[in-house]
């Protein structure tokens, strides 16, 4: 079986709030199933080949680091990343990475900073930081929903356009903008979320959905059952225990 090719974009700069846990989750779940993978780190000054990867992770960073890579991302890698999105490469983008995939970021002074434009969302700077536990119900066509738990920490308000679907509905917390009850975005195989925590370890269903889509794109005959079930006891407990700490009933 061919190795699943995973790419971590700017691992040395976008490495905030434990987002690398998402990669640990993907890689371990492949390892436990005996499925081979290859993890590549791509950072400043390096080319991104849209044909070279099946699954790409883009995390968030601090303002200083994000400003450093803005030009590299837009000019050096921008068109290749958009090309990969159109070829249905699976993406997971968290927080700052999510914002950068969008069309633009509007600063507090009203200045428009162009972003990648890979997905139809716009982010506006906000004064008050939205910090806290985030619980949402993912809305994927292919999976029954569940209560996903994470932690958000952002001041940008993201507004999804008509070209994307929200990743889920907010149960507790702010989500995209604290107003419209949406959290994250889905476009083709691009999954975006404000949830740190990390997101995938506590939400193994989502991790497996990403893996399934990446394999299915490689080999159309690949079926969901080809990802053998894992016990996921700790995963389940970590998810439900935070719900009970937040006094949220498991049935939502």
């Amino acid at each position: 079986m061919e190795a699943l090719r995973i790419c971590h974009l700017y691992p040395d700069l976008l490495n905030l709030y434990g987002d690398r846990g998402n990669l640990l989750s993907l890689c371990q779940r492949l390892k436990w199933r005996g499925l081979p993978y290859q993890l590549t780190r791509i950072s400043l000054g390096e080319d991104f080949d849209p044909e070279a990867f099946d699954l790409v992770f883009l995390g968030g960073g601090q303002d200083y680091e994000q400003a450093l890579l803005q030009e590299d991302l837009l000019i050096k890698k921008g068109s290749a990343i958009k090309e990969a999105v159109l070829q249905d490469v699976v993406f997971l983008c968290i927080c700052g990475g999510y914002q950068m995939m969008g069309k633009a970021y509007i600063t507090a002074e009203g200045r428009r900073i162009e972003c990648l434009g890979a997905i139809d969302v716009i982010t506006q700077a906000g004064k008050k930081r939205m910090i806290g536990n985030l619980v949402f119900k993912p809305q994927l066509d292919t999976l029954p929903t569940w209560l996903a738990a994470g932690f958000e920490n952002h001041s940008g308000r993201t507004w999804p356009g008509s070209g994307v679907k929200p990743l889920g509905r907010v149960v507790k917390g702010f989500g995209n903008n604290g107003k419209d009850g949406t959290e994250g975005a889905i476009y083709r195989n691009v999954f975006c979320s404000y949830s740190h925590g990390s997101l995938l370890p506590k939400n193994p269903r989502l991790a497996d959905e990403l893996l399934f889509r990446a394999f299915a794109r490689m080999r159309p005959s690949f079926k969901r059952q080809d990802l053998s079930p894992l016990a996921d006891v700790f995963e389940e407990k970590a998810g439900t225990s935070i719900l009970s700490l937040l006094h949220i009933r498991p049935d939502g």
């Binding site: 691992p11 040395d12 700069l13 490495n15 905030l16 709030y17 434990g18 987002d19 690398r20 846990g21 640990l24 989750s25 371990q28 400043l44 601090q62 303002d63 200083y64 680091e65 400003a67 450093l68 930081r129 910090i131 806290g132 536990n133 932690f151 920490n153 740190h196 925590g197 990390s198 370890p201 506590k202 016990a231 006891v233 700790f234 995963e235 407990k237 970590a238 225990s241 935070i242 700490l245």
Partner: protein, 464 residues
């Protein structure tokens, strides 16, 4: 009049709280500041002030400085119990002053977190400021790493030419503070000659130049982003050191022996041998910071070397408690950089290790537990040797259990304990007499486990 009222009220509250067994709270300080908002200025005016701030190592550094002051015969007061916000400082001051607001000591040694440091500098004139380092810590409370650095920078803007600044030269963020100082600056650090091999392959906090954004080149690194940095873009680089560790002669779990080169203003260059009673590179930095403070205050070398050689840490910083015929070692963990250092310390003794990870998400711990995914548990899991028993507990025990699982431990080998009392019972029960249990709690977990332990064993009081 207001001051007197504030002191009396707070002192009364302290007595009352003690009576009900609630030591170490900041409520009396809060009340005192409410009655007299200028209390800190008024009380600290006659005192010589030493402030210690930074992300990691504040408590240990402050306590070594305290030991140095003791040995130099300088009477001093300090905030010892890790309550390093302004209310806590006020509580400590009113507790230790006379009813008229005077002290028998002439020096105050205060450990402050970055936000409290900024405020404190507007209310008092420090004689010496020690900055340990800047690592990511509890970003949900303070925003980003650069905001914590700026908080210290803004505080320093209020200091004058009579404030000595003691800085970690190996930290590019910390070193940048020298520009904000109007007084003498003492740099401490670890030279390339003292370290060998590559540090752990973790991602760095400050990878790019704070001034021009170029990627730093490193002549050597000790851990995290600490080391001999140099910016190829603008030339910003690690400065020359006044207090430099040039050689590590011995290091084991009991501590280390090092050579320290001193280039102090107005003195001949000399190299001294320092025995440090604590293990780990991060404690080497703490000892150097404290020594730097001692030298900045012109205290005798003898007082400094004697203090670091005898210093025993406490209150959850590598504190060892005797629990019947077994021992418990408490090591506070609060952010990835500190946690990585603790795991590096435990990896060589992993075989047969009894350890428990206690994770809470209260405000003092940081409400976001995401940071555990930035800790390099993989290196610990990959290290040779099989631990005797690994347990987890605390409000976010399942997150901790999950983190360990994804680092490579088997689910079945991780004991998830529902309560601290059960943890103590089960973990101690699994040990043979003479063995030691290493507890790695976050801040509030440490307070709780200590309280739980004191029900079963007699422990030293911790608001002393």
């Amino acid at each position: 009049m207001r001051t007197r009222a504030a002191i009396i009220t707070a002192k009364f509250l302290v007595l009352l709280l003690r009576k009900f067994g609630r030591g170490g709270t900041s409520l009396p300080g809060k009340a005192a500041l409410w009655i007299q908002p200028d209390l800190l200025q008024i009380l600290t005016l006659p005192l010589r002030i030493i402030l210690v701030t930074g992300t990691n190592g504040k408590t240990t550094t402050a306590r070594i400085i305290s030991e140095i002051l003791d040995r130099a015969g300088i009477s001093h007061i300090s905030n010892r119990s890790g309550s390093n916000l302004l209310n806590g400082i006020a509580a400590m001051l009113v507790e230790k002053c006379s009813l008229k607001g005077s002290f028998s000591a002439d020096t105050a040694l205060l450990e402050l977190d970055e936000a409290a440091f900024r405020l404190a500098c507007t209310r008092m004139r420090p004689h010496a400021v020690v900055v340990t380092n800047f690592f990511r810590d509890q970003l949900d409370r303070y925003g980003e790493l650069y905001s914590t650095l700026n908080a210290v920078r803004e505080g320093l803007a209020h200091t004058g030419p009579d404030t000595a600044l003691i800085l970690n030269a190996d930290d590019s963020l910390c070193t940048s503070l020298a520009k904000d100082s109007k007084g003498p600056v003492f740099f401490y650090g670890v030279e390339a000659s003292a370290v060998s091999g590559d540090p752990a392959k973790t991602d760095l906090d400050a990878l790019h130049c704070i001034y021009c954004g170029s990627r730093y080149a490193y002549a050597h690194r000790t851990y995290g982003h600490l080391g001999g940095f140099c910016c190829p873009g603008c030339g910003y680089s690690r400065p020359g050191l006044q207090v430099a560790c040039t050689r590590i002669l011995r290091e084991d779990t009991g501590g280390m022996s090092v050579d320290v080169n001193l280039r102090l203003p107005g003195q001949e260059e000399q190299t001294i041998r320092m025995d440090i009673a604590l293990p780990g590179l991060y404690n080497l930095y703490n000892a150097l910071a404290a020594a730097g403070c001692g030298f900045a205050l012109n205290l005798p070398v003898q007082a400094v070397t004697a203090a670091v050689a005898r210093f025993q840490s406490g209150f959850g910083r590598m504190e060892t408690l005797n629990c019947g015929d077994r021992q418990i070692k408490l090591i506070l963990v609060k952010n990835p950089a500190g946690f990585n250092q603790v795991l590096a310390h435990l990896a060589p003794v992993k075989a047969g290790l009894h350890a428990a990870f206690l994770l809470n998400d209260n405000i003092a711990d940081g409400t976001d537990v995401s940071w555990i995914w930035d800790v390099d548990f993989e290196s610990f899991s990959d290290a040779p040797g099989i631990p005797a028993r690994i347990s987890v507990c605390g409000r976010r025990k399942w997150d901790m259990a999950l983190r360990l699982k994804y680092s490579g431990f088997d689910e079945g080998d991780i004991h998830v304990e529902p309560s601290y009392s059960q943890l103590i019972q089960n973990a101690l029960g699994a040990m043979a007499p003479g063995e030691c249990l290493t507890l790695l709690p976050t801040y509030t977990a440490m307070l709780t486990i200590r309280r739980e332990l004191s029900k079963h064993f007699s422990l030293p009081e911790f608001w002393a």
